[in-house]
C-alpha cells in the first residue's frame, strides 16, 4: 500500500510540474536523495507504523528531517508493509530531478483523497530559466555547415581588434574587393 502511495505522490509531483511549467519537455524524474527539504516517505499518519518496518532502501536520507508534525513515522523507510491507510496521511514525494533542478512535493491525503499539495523544493529561478528556454533556437545548429559555404558580404562578430584583423574572415572579404 505504501509503495502505491509513493508512486502516487511521485505522479502528483510530475503533474504539478506539468501544470506549473506549461511545457511538454520534461527531464528524467529519477529519484534522488532529498537535498534537505524533506526525506521521502510518510512523515505523519494516523495509521500507526511499526518503528522497524523493513530494511530502509534510502538510508542516506531517512532521518525524518522533513517532518511537518509531531508524529513522524520512525525511520521513514519507503519499503515495508503497513496496515491500510484509511486515515490522514502526509507524504513527502521523492525528489524529481528536472532539467530546471530538483522538485519535491508534499501531499496530504485524507480518507484516500488528496486534500493538499505543497512544494517542498522548487528549482531556484525556474520561471526565468523556462522563460529563457522558450527562446531557444536549436534548428539554427543545422544551418552551421550550410553557412560556411554561403556567400557573404560582411562578418559581424565580437570586436575584432586590429591585431586579429589579418586572420579574420572580414579581411578576406575586404581583400577580395580592394583595389589599392
Amino acid at each position: 500500500m505504501r509503495r502505491i502511495t509513493m508512486w502516487f505522490v511521485a505522479t502528483v509531483a510530475v503533474v504539478v510540474l506539468l501544470f506549473s511549467y506549461r511545457t511538454s519537455t520534461m527531464g528524467t524524474t529519477a529519484p534522488a536523495a532529498a537535498a534537505g527539504a524533506g526525506a521521502p516517505g510518510i512523515v505523519s499518519g494516523s495509521t500507526s507504523d511499526s518503528a522497524a518496518a523493513g530494511p530502509p532502501d534510502n538510508s542516506a536520507s531517512t532521518s525524518g528531517s522533513g517532518s511537518t508534525s509531531g508524529s513522524t513515522s520512525g525511520s521513514g523507510s519507503t519499503s515495508g508493509s503497513t496496515s491500510g491507510s484509511t486515515g490522514n496521511l502526509v507524504v513527502n514525494g521523492s525528489v524529481a530531478q528536472t532539467r530546471w533542478g530538483p522538485v519535491q512535493v508534499q501531499v496530504h491525503i485524507t480518507s484516500g483523497k488528496i486534500t493538499e499539495v505543497t512544494a517542498l523544493q522548487v528549482p531556484s529561478g525556474n520561471h526565468r530559466d523556462i522563460e529563457i528556454n522558450s527562446y531557444a533556437v536549436p534548428q539554427l545548429r543545422s544551418e552551421v555547415l550550410a553557412a560556411q559555404s554561403a556567400t557573404i558580404d560582411v562578418v559581424s562578430g565580437a570586436t575584432v581588434t586590429s591585431d586579429g584583423y589579418l586572420e579574420s574572415l572580414q579581411a578576406a572579404l575586404d581583400s577580395a574587393h580592394f583595389k589599392g
Binding site: R128, E131, I132, Y135, A136, V137, P138, Q139, L140, R141, E143, V144, A147, Q148, A150, T151, I152, D153, V154, V155, S156, G157, A158, T159, V160, T161, S162, G164, Y165, E167, S168, L169, Q170, A171, L173, D174, S175, A176, H177, F178, K179
Partner: protein, 246 residues
Amino acid sequence: MDTTLTRRSFIEQIMGLPISVHVRGPQAGSAEVADAVDTVFAELRLVDALFSPFRPDSLVSAVNRGEPVSDPLLDAVTDLCAQARERTDGYFDATLPDPSGGTRFDPSGLVKGWGLERAAARLAGHEAYVSGGGDMVLRGSWRVGIEDPSRPDRLLTAIEVADCAVATSGGAHRGAHIIDPHTSAPAIGLRSVTVIGPSLTWADVYATAAVARGPQAVVWLAGLPGYEALLVRDNGDLLATPGWPR
C-alpha cells in the same frame, strides 16, 4: 543589384579597429565615391580625437581631469549615455569604477556605434556598408555572416538584411571584457549577442548590455521594438528573439 558590377572595399585602422567600407554598384569605382569614403574615415578620426580615453587631449580626458568642457558633441554623447543607462536598466553604464576608488567617464562603448553611424551617413545614396570591428551600418541589402564566438574563423549563420545596423558584443577576441555594472564582476552566461535594428548606436548598446545581463536578456531584448537579437550561451546553445531573420 548584380554583384558582378563594380564593388570596392576601403580599409583603415581607426580607434584601434579595422574599419571596412564596401561600396557596390556602377559608381563604386568613381572618384566621387572615394571622396565620400574619405569623409567617412575623417569623421571617425575626429570622433576618436574627441572621445578616446587614451588621448590626453580628448574631451573625455579633460572631463576626467575635472576641467570644464563645453562641446555640443560631448553634450550629445553624455545625453545618449544617460539614455543608454536608463534603457538598459543600468546594464550599460559609461561611469566606470576607477582603480583609485573613484569613477571615470568612459563613453567608448557607445561612441563606437554612434561614431560609425554618424560616419556612415556620409555615404547616403550609395549602396554600401561601414563596419568597425564587426559592428556595421548597412545601406542596401547585404548578406551578413554571424561569427561563431567559440571559433571566430567560422560562422554560426548567415542572414540577408537591408538598410539596418548589426552589432555583436562578447568576449570572443579579448576574453571577458564586459563587466556587469551591478556586481562589478565580469559578465557570465553569454559568449556573444548580435543585435539588428535601425540604429547602430542602440544595437551596439543593447548587445553590450545584454552580455552584461546574461541569458535572461533575451526576454528584455524581445520587448525592444524594432530590434532583434541572436544570443550564444556559454554552453553554445542559441537563443533568438521571435523576429530574428531565419
